[in-house]
């Protein structure tokens, strides 16, 4: 069974379209990371998935049921999913009363509330804080208690909004370890947002990328404000650099964007003695290479002067064979269908 099915979901804040998702399915018992830059809509998506914010348009179905967004039918559904905010707040009472809030709302007995709260606090290593005032904890401690408070609700889905942002360095690894353990939990799906690709890679089994409110290719960084010119029938201008592309692009004035599919960038080590840029090739410098689920993620500096960051997704074999090491100068080409040009908003 799928956990969530989103169809043509949009969230509009005044003039800003914060979220614009054509179709998104999340399977049950998944451990999924939600990636994207600041302002890309991660938090808005989490609020929709937590059934806290009805989308402006579109249909959401949760655990096979279409969500009607009427308060009466919503409550039982909402009790199956818990969101932990980016900077969680604590009710101004003790830690244990915070953690037992969920069971209390569900009408559980006092003894059950206490038992489950202590159990969950123990899981995050905060049992000895049970009787402390909750609003005096540090950022990292608050995050851990907030996770315990969410777990005490016994949710089928746990949503975490940037769980390690604003957490001190000592608690960061503790929180990551808790999430790692939760990700292998049976009978609970987990979805967390992060801006840290390494964290996503280590903790999650799958990933979603957001860029400007839309689902994006797994390297949303490759999106540039661009003037696109039809010149020689074949060229696109990005950040004043020429990049080859197959079909002649349409002509737009400023305000348009160019996205480059990271899977369609080829990277070649500089051939010996062949240092000058060849026709149709771009010179670039390798900055970073990291592991992606079944690919290698290569971050390239393709600009003239501190210029344009490009992300390519390559096969491990290609990287090994080419002996590409960060710091290397390389040459890149784009496949004919690598470029996607977005019209400026009307």
């Amino acid at each position: 069974m799928t956990l969530y099915d989103l169809t043509l979901v949009q969230v509009q804040f005044g003039a800003l379209r914060a979220l614009d998702i054509d179709r998104l399915s999340l399977p049950e018992n998944s451990a999924c990371a939600l990636l994207g830059p600041n302002g890309s809509g991660k938090t808005t998506l989490l609020h929709v998935l937590a059934l806290l914010r009805p989308p402006t348009r579109g249909a959401v179905s949760f655990m096979g049921e279409p969500v009607s967004w009427r308060e009466k039918t919503l409550l039982p559904l909402r009790r199956k999913v818990v969101l932990v905010d980016q900077h969680p707040i604590m009710f101004s009472t003790t830690v244990i009363k915070n953690v037992s809030y969920g069971p209390k709302m569900r009408g559980e007995s006092r003894s059950f509330q206490k038992r489950i709260a202590l159990e969950c606090l123990d899981r995050v290593g905060m049992k000895e804080y049970a009787d402390r005032p909750a609003h005096r904890l540090s950022g990292g401690e608050t995050q851990r208690v907030a996770i315990a408070r969410a777990l005490a609700c016994g949710p089928r889905v746990l949503l975490l909004d940037e769980p390690t942002a604003g957490v001190d360095i000592e608690n960061q690894s503790v929180v990551e370890k808790i999430i790692f353990d939760l990700c292998s939990e049976k009978n609970m799906s987990i979805l967390f947002s992060t801006h840290n690709p390494i964290q996503a890679e280590r903790l999650a089994r799958s990933k979603i990328y957001l860029s400007a409110g839309r689902l994006a290719a797994p390297a949303a960084e490759n999106r540039f404000p661009a003037r696109v010119l039809q010149q020689n029938g074949l060229l696109a201008l990005i950040d004043n650099r020429e990049i080859h592309t197959g079909p002649p692009p349409e002509i737009f004035s400023t305000g348009s964007f160019v996205s480059i599919d990271p899977e369609k960038i080829r990277v070649y080590a500089n051939a010996r003695g062949n240092s000058g840029p060849r026709n149709g090739w771009l010179a670039a410098k390798v900055l970073q290479i990291s592991a992606e689920t079944d690919r290698i993620r290569v971050v390239l500096d393709a600009g003239k002067a501190g210029g344009t960051l490009l992300t390519a997704l390559l096969k491990a074999g290609d990287v090994r064979q080419n002996r590409i090491v960060p710091g290397d100068s390389v040459q890149i080409t784009l496949d004919p269908d690598a470029l996607r040009i977005e019209k400026p908003p009307a």
């Binding site: 806290l52 909402r78 969680p88 009710f91 969410a150």
Partner: protein, 233 residues
Amino acid sequence: MDFLTKSLAEAAGMLASLDPELYFIVYVSLKVALVSTLIASAAGVPLGFFIAIRKFRGKRGVITVLNTLLALPTVVIGLFVYALLSRQGALGSLGLLYTPAAIVTGQVILILPWVAAFTVSAVSRIDERYRRTAMTLGAGPFQTAFAILREARFGIIGAVIAAFGRVIAEIGIAMMLGGNIKGFTRTMTTAMALEHNKGEFVLAVALGIILLAVSLAMNILLQLAQGRYGEDR
């Protein structure tokens, strides 16, 4: 200065001797102020809470009107209620003029907007995340409202304390609607203002000491409530 010192000494003696006239005036003042505050709070806190947590058309306008009503001068309220309660007035037949009930009526009109406006402000200051947290943890609409109310408790207590401090120290309404009738509607403020140059100066000073003590105590309570509140956020 000698005069002031002498008056203070005599007033202290009066306070110590448990003068019945003095303490009856204090009793009337406190009773009237307390009843006014309770009525205004019973209506104003739910009203303010409702305005703060609900979204409705014209909400901004309602809050502006509420804030504007904060500026109602006591003498204007006094005059308005006087016109209603006087023999020629619409409610003249009730015979309420120059009774404690008349003072309470005016004072409730005075502080109801205070209690409501400060409740709106206290509840609005509560971070949106409290609502969201309660909801995501499975709270229904009433439980969510209660969670927000609970977080705003110090601000709301502060509103009630401020309202009590305001009515205990006001004079315009008490004078115009109570009429300073000895042993019946004479309050601390009316006695102080009207009797001081009729040989009752020592009584006035003694009442002044008590009124000052009550006012400062309310203010310190208010600062404690706000301080506690501020610390919590």
